[in-house]
């Protein structure tokens, strides 16, 4: 009986402790939600004053932060990708950082800054981008596919400008061109990317000062954009891609908040 009573006491104590912790957590969650709502409302007002309009759902729904990453390029993997389509061939150094592969079924070029081009003289059966990923052996890297494009993902986020355009004619792949960076990626700076509120306010202010207010913000996405190239490496900076109704698509560096209508 003593053990039974002791168990009752322990249960009561544990229950009380759990309730207290749950209450603390609940209070914190509520406070956090309230602060986010306040911040979103303030950001919305500030944006409106600068001629930009963003939905509350967009402002209150932030993705996890991204960090500055570096990709150590893997020439062997890039060569394998090229040879998948043009066949095996000697790797010819075209200059300092560029290579050419004269394969049995076409010519591929790999440039120093990650640009990849392949002209395929004997087209491979390839009805869509999904098939291309299978054929290219790109299953190992994250990608999203459009109708005739493949966009690279790094750490789950899209690489803006890191896109391969596929020339598909009658279900056959005749050419590939664009940018793909194959290799190891790792974080080189632990500073998290700045929030969408900050990016939108910075962009809206710049556009407002330039006399071309942003108008309605149609969408915003956090991804990566090439920021600095070094021989064999590419540094990728977290970047917000913001689509506006009035002035098209803009890119805002999520560290420096510098904005540009175009990628490097």
């Amino acid at each position: 009986m003593k053990i039974s009573r002791l168990k009752n006491i322990i249960i009561a104590m544990l229950l009380a402790a759990d309730l207290v912790l749950a209450a603390v957590l609940g209070a914190r969650a509520f406070e956090s939600w309230r602060l986010e709502e306040d911040a979103a409302a303030r950001a919305s007002e500030a944006l409106a004053a600068l001629g930009a309009e963003a939905g509350r759902d967009m402002l209150g729904d932030e993705p996890p932060p991204l960090y500055m990453v570096e990709i150590e390029r893997d020439l062997a993997a890039e060569r394998a990708l090229a040879e998948t389509f043009v066949g095996t061939g000697a790797l010819v150094r075209d200059g300092s950082g560029s290579y050419r592969i004269e394969g049995e079924r076409g010519t591929a070029r790999l440039y120093g800054a990650g640009r990849f081009e392949a002209e395929i003289s004997a087209p491979a059966a390839c009805p869509d981008a999904g098939t291309f990923i299978e054929l290219a052996g790109l299953g190992g890297i994250e990608t999203v596919t459009g109708e005739d494009t493949v966009t690279q993902l790094v750490r789950g986020a899209p690489v803006f400008g890191g896109e391969l355009a596929l020339d598909i004619e009658n279900g056959e792949l005749c050419g590939v061109s664009g940018i793909v960076l194959l290799g190891d990626d790792y974080i080189i700076d632990g500073t998290p990317s700045k929030s969408l509120d900050a990016a939108l306010l910075s962009l809206a202010e710049e556009l407002h000062d330039a006399g071309t207010p942003a108008g309605k913000i149609l969408s915003a996405e956090l991804g990566y954009a090439a920021s600095l190239a070094a021989p064999g490496y590419m540094q990728m900076a977290p970047t917000w891609r913001i689509e506006t109704e009035s002035v098209g698509t803009w890119y805002v560096d999520a560290f420096t908040l510098e904005s540009s209508a175009r990628l490097r």
């Binding site: 075209d94 200059g95 300092s96 800054a113 021989p231 064999g232 209508a261």
Partner: protein, 426 residues
Amino acid sequence: MSRRARVVEIFKSVLIVLLMAAMLLLFLLTWSTDPDSLPEGVARVVSAVSGFFGGGFEAAPVVEGSRADTYGEAAPPNAVAVMRNGSLEGFFAFDGTLDEAYSRVQLTLADCLGSAEGQSNVSQREFLIAANEEGAVFIGYSGEQPLSLIALSHGVEAYGVGGEMVDILLLAPGGESVILYAAGGGQYMRMATAVADSRLEPLFDGISGADAAYSSDLGFDGTEPAVYPARELRVPVITVHPSAMSESAVTGLMSAFGMNTESNYRYVSSDGTQYAVENGVTLAVGADGSIAYSAGEDGGIGLRPDAADAGVIEFCRAILESGSAGVVGDAEWTLRGFERTEERAEVRFGYTVNGLPMYVGEYESAAEFVIEEGRLTEAHIALLRCASGEESSLMMPPASAAVVGLREPAYFTGGGYGEVVPQWSR
């Protein structure tokens, strides 16, 4: 004990275990709002659990240092021009149109530099003929720098291009693939590339530059090709002040010169100069922004003994950029001189504002570095804060300046402070 009582006891035991597990989870979730207080391994477990329950806690990422050797341009671009529909369009630093134009060129330029080969000398006449080809893209820099350094700053190794000092690049259509021209110090070079001509055509889609002309078409004789607005030359007026050497500016300099920012060996002299002394190295920071660095026999930061010219220049540029970050305002640093022997190298930089050189007093350079036997032994920097305002100055048209023998627009401070209006120089 009855069977019912035994079941109740078992239930109580299970409940205790569940409540303890719940308490542990709630405790971790509560703690997780302060992730810095968690050990890294625990933080990852909490992150996973928190994510499972929809929590917002993100464990700090694993950060590795950069493995890349990165380089910056030792002289920023000041003009980009494109020959389009038979006329030249210019994008300039002083009218704010350069950044967009240069960003559009960079990837193609990198691929051209990366695939350049077969370097040969050509005449100025051949260079100018190529510059007038439809689709040709002219890129002017604010000073000469090694061609290999421009390639490295664009992320490509420089096996196919040399270390010649150049301040002009030209991408001209060659029939099938782009021909890369480079010019500097009166020399003109030509290189074949693997970049298709077709990549030049869409580079400037959607933007247009000012009507522009090459200096040779404006009457400038005996000078290197340059691009100017064809008619009106309007350049911002700047203001120049001594740099305020705050505590953060001083520690920024100490850090740039590889010194311990927590050092106790610091003092201020009667004239306000701040000194930091460490392992035979002395850094003197004057209240007016004059910086003097000197290292004794064994002190001073070093660089790789086998560093190429581009590496030596980048070593000094990185110190200068890092040490003057946030101090010089709208000014940029431009390489103004580089001399190297087997044991000694001298690297000089000057200011560029709005793409125009700014001469401090009678001096072209505002920063000088001396490297001996692979160590930085001496450095002098004159830090100034430059601000480009709204006001601009209408300068003599380039064609008129050419007639009276003037050569380039520049800012001259005369050694003083205050407003500086751009002028043509001889």
